[in-house]
Structure formats: structure tokens, C-alpha cells
């Protein structure tokens, strides 16, 4: 069976969930061979093997942390040369898309970004994309070269599928471009202790209706009662009430959880672009005409300052 390269997104050896989802999709089109780079690369092997990686190609060098994007492109290109895969799958993060694009150009291949599903097809893997703020679903494929496809988080279930996961060192020679953009400083994000927004099963978001940074505590309490991540509309972010890393929408994160709860959010097209593929959608808004109600499975027309605390209380009671 043909091999499929999977680019591993990890933090010091801890594999992030979207990569495990990619392994599920990769197994539909071939045998997954993972590529893990940077500090802790070899530590990823156990988790990757458990989810179907037959091989884990690893390489560590200071360049991966010290320079932007290109060293990773060089390494992935080396992996393509070593394996001659049937396809290359990359998680659809901002950086993942940039790496994938440059790789595609170098190996003379087309690229598809932000796939939400992937199947084997007669002419290579067929990707499903959700476009125009999720109002259309397209099926597309790469028609030249080795398909390079980036896949959004929550596009497939994580499945246990034990495989060998043999670690092999990847030979990488960095290109002249590798050191072009230097990373001169790095401030890691402080952990909130809540799930990662793009990976969470439940997302609770607040918008302009929350009316102040201090009131976001209401949204956070609801989120914590459900073990959810916290999101915000751009209006709330622009007002300085919540960090931009939590913005949901076209220019923020795109989320696709099992449950999305929007409070005090009108449902503008750019917000919908980032949450419309959520499985169950719930909204609390005092305006019965708000467009968000067109999307909901359940909506409460009311003041969020009444509804949200009551909901949080009731959840706590029910959960005991």
C-alpha cells in the first residue's frame, strides 16, 4: 500500500489532537508515515504508533525554532524525496498552510487547504471543503503531482489503530532560504487550563452583548461548568474584553465542536464563517430578529445576564 506523509504538530513531544485526526484520514488513502521535527520529535512516536503511524521520521535542529517556516519546508521536502508518498497531509493551522503551500510549489504539486473530510478516489484523494462561510460544500482534488492537503481540526475522529511506529532519523540539508526570517523573541501563550479552542468538544462564546471585560466571567463560568473552551466575537475582541487568540470567525479561529453556545452575538457572516459547521448550535440573544437564530438548534430570546447564570447554576445542580 502506498505511504502517506503526515506532518506532526506537537509541543515538545506532546502530539496535538488534529494530528491524530489526520492519521485517521491518512489510513483511508494509504499507510501513514509521520514526520516530526524539532525539540521532542522522537517523543511523539508512541502516540503516533498507537494511532496508525507505521514509521515516524524525526529530525531536530535549532533552526526549527530559530527561523520561520522554511526549515520545516526543507525537512518535509526531504521526507517526500525519501518516501515518495501518495499524498502529504498537514494540519490546517496558519503555519501548517504556509508550510504545505511552499512544499507543494517545490515538488510541483497542487494544494488544497482547509479540507473537512478526505476519501480515497480513482484519481487520488478527494477532499471536501466547506466554503463561502460554510454555505457551500465542494469536493476537489489535486490534479498534478503528489497531493498536498491541509485538514481542519475536528474533521475526523481520533481512532486507536496500533502500528509499528518505527522511529527513523530523517536526513535534512537546510536550503539557503532557511535562515531568511529570524525569530528574535518568543512569548509563549499562558495556559488558561481550558481546552484548546479549535480542539474543544464544546465552545462557549460571548459577543458585544456581554458588554465589558469583567462580564466575561459569566461566559467563563458557563464554559467551566461544561468543560468548554471560551470564544469571542470580533466586536468583543476589538473592544478589548477578550484576547484575540479566542476570536471565532473568518479572521480568528475556525471551530467545529459538538456544541457551540453563542451569547450576545448577532451572527454576522464573518462570525458564522468560523462556527457554522458546529454540530449543535445554541444562542442566547435579546433580539428575536438576530441572524444567529437562523442557525440554532435551540435559542433563547432573552437577556444573557439572566439566562447565562441560571443555565450555569442548573448545569452545576444537574452535574451534582
Amino acid at each position: 500500500m502506498a505511504e502517506v506523509l503526515v506532518y506532526v504538530d506537537h509541543v515538545d513531544g506532546a502530539v496535538r489532537k488534529p494530528t491524530l485526526e489526520l492519521l485517521t484520514l491518512a489510513r483511508r488513502v494509504g499507510e501513514p508515515v509521520a514526520v516530526a521535527l524539532g525539540a521532542g520529535a522522537a517523543d511523539t512516536a508512541a502516540a503516533l504508533a498507537e494511532h496508525g503511524a507505521v514509521k515516524v521520521l524525526t529530525h531536530d535542529a535549532a533552526e526549527y525554532a530559530d527561523y520561520l517556516v522554511v526549515p520545516k519546508v526543507d525537512a518535509l521536502q526531504a521526507a517526500v524525496a525519501a518516501v515518495s508518498p501518495a499524498a502529504v497531509l498537514v494540519p490546517s493551522s496558519a503555519e501548517g498552510k504556509e508550510i504545505a503551500a511552499r512544499l507543494a510549489l517545490r515538488i510541483g504539486s497542487g494544494i488544497i487547504t482547509d479540507a473537512v473530510d478526505l476519501e480515497a478516489g480513482d484519481e487520488g484523494p478527494v477532499a471536501t471543503q466547506s466554503v463561502f462561510a460554510a454555505s457551500f460544500t465542494t469536493k476537489s482534488r489535486v490534479s498534478k503531482g503528489t497531493p498536498v492537503i491541509t485538514v481542519k481540526p475536528n474533521s475526523a475522529a481520533v481512532e486507536a489503530a496500533p502500528a509499528a511506529g518505527a522511529v527513523e532519523a530523517l536526513d535534512v540539508t537546510f536550503s539557503a532560504q532557511a535562515t531568511g526570517t529570524k525569530v528574535t523573541g518568543r512569548t509563549p501563550r499562558e495556559s488558561t487550563g481550558r481546552p484548546e479552542l479549535t480542539e474543544a468538544a464544546i465552545v462557549v462564546s460571548g459577543g458585544r452583548g456581554v458588554n465589558g471585560a469583567e462580564n466575561f466571567a459569566l461566559i467563563e463560568s458557563l464554559a467551566d461548568s461544561l468543560g468548554a473552551a471560551v470564544g469571542a466575537s470580533r466586536a468583543a475582541v476589538d473592544a478589548g474584553w477578550y484576547p484575540h487568540t479566542n476570536q471565532v470567525g473568518q479572521t480568528g479561529k475556525s471551530v467545529s465542536p459538538q456544541l457551540y453556545i453563542a451569547s450576545g452575538i448577532s451572527g454576522a457572516i464573518q462570525h458564522r464563517a468560523g462556527m457554522q459547521t458546529s454540530k449543535t448550535i445554541v444562542a442566547i440573544n435579546k433580539d428575536a430578529e438576530a441572524p444567529i437564530f437562523d442557525l440554532v438548534d435551540y435559542g433563547v430570546v432573552g437577556d444573557l445576564f439572566d439566562v447565562v447564570p441560571q443555565l450555569t447554576e442548573e448545569i452545576k445542580v444537574r452535574k451534582g
Binding site: G110, I111, F136, T138, S140, G180, T181, A273, V296, D297
Partner: protein, 261 residues
């Protein structure tokens, strides 16, 4: 010497209009009003600020797109850019991201540049890959997704807010930069700006001006193929209740019924 800035701007269908696909599965550009992609206004704004801080700078705005894409150029010129280049050719219809980057790179090289500034993503394709592709093609540093950017003594610096960390980046010119919508509100064109834009030069280039062949671009030359496009089925109408004092509890009941609690 003057700092030559090229800003890439895309003409896109209005996101608040009824966007859809034509029979050949390309974007239908006839039925929906087009405009300068809002996210490229941030690129124009940063170019204007960098130019204001430089002793001498010239801003060229560049688009690849149909006839109407001139509107996007006019808007950028009225914001304050100096001149414009419009790459237009019937054979460009249906070009994919790899092809678009080829045309843009050729045009940027022909125009001459020290700094290319792009938006973070278009509002229609939303791939967020063209700036990285341009850096790869031009063989210059990629300094992308910046929320803060400055240029001094031939060096570009900026802040990139990623998922795991916020990074400070630095590269020597020439370079390709992209900026996010966090980089600073874009200015509105003034009346004076709008009048002045009418007199600013707009050059039109076609594929032959860029030494490109029709087979290298367009639907035929694309390295990707769209097999089908279907409107997403409308979500089935949900239950909507008015809060009469029990709204939170009713919602909890719904969530429990769905096994979320």
C-alpha cells in the same frame, strides 16, 4: 534610493451578498457585487504608514483579476497608493493558488520591489497561502501574519501572534510581508484622495507582458480540480423560546436531552 513597495490586493465578491458558483465551478462574479477584499485594506494601510516613515517611498498596488478588479485598485489608490498594475487576461479565468502566485510573482519582478505587502487571506478563497508562495517564488524572506510591522535601515521587523506563542520576527529586505486585521484600522479614502486617484496611473498587463503562456494558468493550467459544489442544506429550524424567567433552565433541559450534561 526610494523604497519600492508593492501591495497585492484581491477583488472579491461581497461576503454579505449571495455568493455562489458558476457552471464551470469557478466563483460566479457576475451576480454579486465585487470589492477590494477588506483584509487587503490592512495591507494598504501598513504600506502607507511605512511609506510615511520612510524618506522616500513609492507604493504600487497590484491585482490579478477580471476587468472590474480595477475598482479594487481605485479604492487602494484613493487611500493613498501612488500607482497601480492590473494583470488581466481571459486565460486567467479559473487560476488556482499556485497559478495566481506565478502571475503575481512575475508582475512583482517586472514592477521592481523592495517590499511586498499582502493581506492575511482573501475573503473568498481564504487560503492564506499566497504570501508564502510569493516568498518561495521570489526567493526572499517570508515575514507573514504580522500584527505589528516596521521597516528601518533595510530591515523589516514584526510581531506574529501564533497559536502557541507570540513571535518577534526579523528579516532583511527585499522581503514578503503579510499583515493581519490586528495591525491597525485602515483609513477611509478622503474626498481629496478619491479625486486624486482618478489621475493616478493604472497599467494593464496581460500574460504576454509577463512572458507567460496560457497553459501555465487558468482552469486548464490548474494543479487542482473542483469536482462538485453543492449548497449546504439549510439547517433545520430549531426551537426558539422566549425567556419568561425559566430560559436558562429550559436550555439546560435541552442540553441534557442532547447528552451534553
Amino acid at each position: 534610493m526610494s523604497l519600492r513597495i508593492v501591495v497585492t490586493v484581491k477583488y472579491v465578491p461581497d461576503a454579505t451578498g449571495d455568493r455562489h458558483f458558476a457552471d464551470d465551478l469557478t466563483v460566479d462574479r457576475d451576480d454579486v457585487d465585487g470589492l477590494l477584499s477588506e483584509l487587503d485594506e490592512y495591507a494598504v494601510e501598513q504600506a502607507l504608514q511605512i511609506a510615511e516613515d520612510a524618506d522616500d517611498a513609492e507604493i504600487t498596488v497590484l491585482t490579478v483579476g477580471p476587468e472590474d478588479a480595477k475598482d479594487a485598485l481605485r479604492k487602494a489608490l484613493s487611500m493613498g497608493a501612488d500607482k497601480a498594475i492590473h494583470v488581466e487576461d481571459d486565460d486567467l479565468h479559473g487560476t488556482d493558488a499556485i497559478g495566481t502566485s506565478l502571475v503575481l510573482a512575475k508582475a512583482i519582478e517586472k514592477a521592481g520591489y523592495d517590499l511586498v505587502i499582502s493581506g492575511m487571506a482573501s475573503t473568498d478563497g481564504t487560503m492564506g497561502v499566497v504570501p508564502a508562495l510569493l516568498a518561495e517564488r521570489l526567493g526572499v524572506p517570508q515575514v507573514t501574519l504580522l500584527s505589528e510591522v516596521s521597516v528601518e535601515d533595510g530591515v523589516v521587523k514584526g510581531r506574529r501572534d501564533g497559536d502557541a506563542a507570540s513571535e518577534q520576527l526579523q528579516a532583511s529586505l527585499p522581503a514578503v510581508v503579510s499583515v493581519t486585521d490586528q495591525s491597525g484600522e485602515a483609513r477611509y479614502p478622503s474626498f481629496k484622495g478619491i479625486m486624486a486617484a482618478k489621475k493616478k496611473p493604472v497599467q494593464s498587463w496581460d500574460l504576454s507582458d509577463l512572458d507567460l503562456e496560457a497553459e501555465e494558468v487558468g482552469l486548464e493550467g490548474a494543479w487542482t480540480a473542483v469536482d462538485s459544489a453543492a449548497a449546504r442544506p439549510a439547517r433545520t429550524a430549531g426551537t426558539i423560546v422566549k425567556d419568561e424567567g425559566e430560559g436558562g433552565k429550559q436550555l439546560a433541559e435541552f442540553l441534557a436531552g442532547q447528552k451534553f450534561i
